[in-house]
Symmetry: C2
Subunit: 378 residues, 2 copies
């Protein structure tokens, strides 16, 4: 079914994608929260439509380039979840004005709020703002439910009407340190509590806080309840990958993206024989986030191109820029996978793997149907 | 000088680039070999012109997308150095015919030679071919100066006139295991000898072998002599990076590419305070090839944006998709690098870092002058 295609190439199984999307929508309905899908992995309007069951609902992005792309494609309610610097406001303003979108911006610093207010006033721009609180990852965010949080809210309120405080958000990225539902569930509660307690404090002090935003795929999958949360962000559930699989967050048959690669060599001269693929460090990325809990994941799991069933336990163990080395138990593999044959590789970390490609080749019912473009850059 | 630019962004210092290019040309003149620059790092016609001092001489590429890009831009003598599969010949033929270029293809397998001959005959195409020999890296290539090599040459000759044997090539990638000129020089000699002995055997058996091709930047920098070699491939010398610096292959002031990034956060809640940059795993890549010999290189060295002087010994220690975390000794760094200020990051491995960007912002005499596009994908 892949004859005549250039490789390496990014394949997206739309049936799996739709199943993943529907499952997370149902989960969010059950949890009583709005799903604001994070599109930093997919970077595709076609995927975004499937995430929201055909609608252009609220979305999350990680770059202003994504914000611009989705705004141009008709999305109106866009949370840009990487903390903004005041120097980026002119571009954010342009995106809002040019496309009639509304950007929600994130900050975690009092001085930044004041500088943003000044910049917004100069531009004549208005932005909704979420304050990021740090629920323990220490990547970004201020202390939850703290006087510093209240001070940031005050600094934002002082910039009215140019800045409007819309709520709080947090991200329990430290949940990736576990592959056991029990601690992930505990961190989901830590994440929920950090956001909800922050929102409650702000409301007590007279600041409105309509949005209480948490989440990433693992905490949403395992959370016991999300009372007080209004909306959640997650993205990788749409595609899944070995990083999610290794943490028990998805099943193998949920992984919707794979890299089509060609066997370009049979190497007999190393310690063990190896297949050489035309998918290396650029085609797969050098992310090995799955390997903490799946030590043999290598740079990806090698599968039959047609069925996506794993070929034994073959993985891409070495990568050079354009070469991937796959050790095989014996040279009989060279007979079943001659030079010129193709395989598909399940990615270690789909966010980084997908970033190398300009488009998806879309499978439906096992047949290639369309090509969906994706955006990139900043 | 970088006010108003979106970040992250790839900056190329053309003065450093020109110096690096001139030095390698002089080195190759001294060694008596033709330089066929490898453009897998730069992926840019503007850089390629500087590499060859304004000419469109012989070049090396790692993908057919690069071959197509350079052929369309007027290059005529293109070595595609990743082993070809017969399934890719139609595209290679198209590139030759559409653009009047000549592709040199690489293979290391007897059956592949026969299959390529058949495919070329069906297409009515003619290709020059190099046989790859394995000088010890075991990535790809057949045994140097072996009967198997002679058999592959025979298989190619049997496909005349569709395939024309043009010579041999090899690549001592295992030289990256050292940061000492002595073993790198020894491996340069192993690499030279593998190629030259292979060419001599083929000539003895009646096969022409006009091209004897070796090299990568470290072996070319340290080789004592290259007698019998006709041409060399190297690419990273044009840009350099921490991987080269850590192996003693370049000086800090040779590094010509850097990533311009904005400070978007001051994190006080971790074990140590950290600057948060808007350059993370996508903007820098997750390659840490420098860290074998420069354990504190992190994902890149943080420098003053204007002067490119290192800021203390600050490095990007953690990366998320769009966040880079830079631990700082104390919070006084938050005063000197407020939110919204910019820094430049010297990349750990430039080949992978550059791949995330669609263009270079070019500095000349310390001033931004042009934007040079780069190609990507496959």
């Amino acid at each position: 079914m892949f004859a005549g295609l250039n490789t390496p190439r990014l394949i997206l199984d739309a049936d799996r994608l739709e199943r993943n999307a529907a499952r997370m929508r149902a989960r969010c309905d059950a949890l009583g929260v709005i799903l604001r899908p994070h599109l930093k992995t997919a970077k595709s309007a076609d995927v975004a439509r499937i995430a929201a069951n055909g609608e252009r609902g609220p979305i999350t992005v990680s770059t202003l380039a994504e914000a611009e792309y989705f705004a141009a494609a008709g999305w109106r309610d866009i949370l840009y979840t990487t903390a903004i610097a005041p120097t980026k406001l002119a571009r954010a303003h342009h995106i809002q004005r040019e496309h009639g979108a509304r950007l929600l911006l994130v900050l975690d610093d009092r001085k930044t709020a004041a500088a943003m207010g000044e910049a917004a006033a100069t531009l004549g721009a208005r932005f909704g703002v979420l304050i990021e609180v740090d629920c323990g990852e220490h990547r970004s965010g201020t202390e939850p439910a703290s006087e510093e949080l209240v001070a940031i809210a005050g600094a934002i309120a002082a910039c009215s009407p140019y800045l409007e405080l819309m709520g709080v958000m947090t991200h329990a990225g430290h949940s990736y340190a576990f592959d056991d539902p029990v601690p992930i569930r505990a961190l989901a509660e830590v994440e929920r509590n950090a956001a909800v307690a922050s929102a409650e404090l702000l409301r007590t002090r007279g600041y409105p806080c309509p949005i209480v935003s948490v989440g990433l795929t693992p905490t949403l999958v395992f959370a016991e309840q999300l009372r007080g949360v209004t909306e959640v962000r997650a993205g990788i559930y749409l595609f899944c990958d070995l990083s999610q699989l290794s943490r028990g967050v998805c099943a193998p048959e949920d992984i919707a993206v794979s890299v089509l690669a060609t066997v370009i060599g049979h190497q007999r001269r190393g310690a063990v024989p190896s297949l050489i693929l035309d998918a290396g460090a650029l085609a797969l990325s050098k992310d090995v986030g799955a390997n903490r809990f799946m030590p043999n994941a290598g740079y990806g799991l090698v599968c039959d191109a047609a069925t996506l069933e794993p070929l034994g336990s073959l993985t891409v163990v070495t990568v050079h820029q354009e070469h991937g080395g796959v050790p095989v138990p014996d040279e009989s593999w060279f007979e079943s996978l001659p030079i010129g044959s193709v395989v598909r590789i399940l990615p270690n970390h789909a966010c980084l793997t997908c970033a190398a490609y300009a488009s998806y080749d879309v499978l439906r019912g096992g047949e290639l149907s369309e090509e969906w473009p994706r955006t990139s850059g900043w």
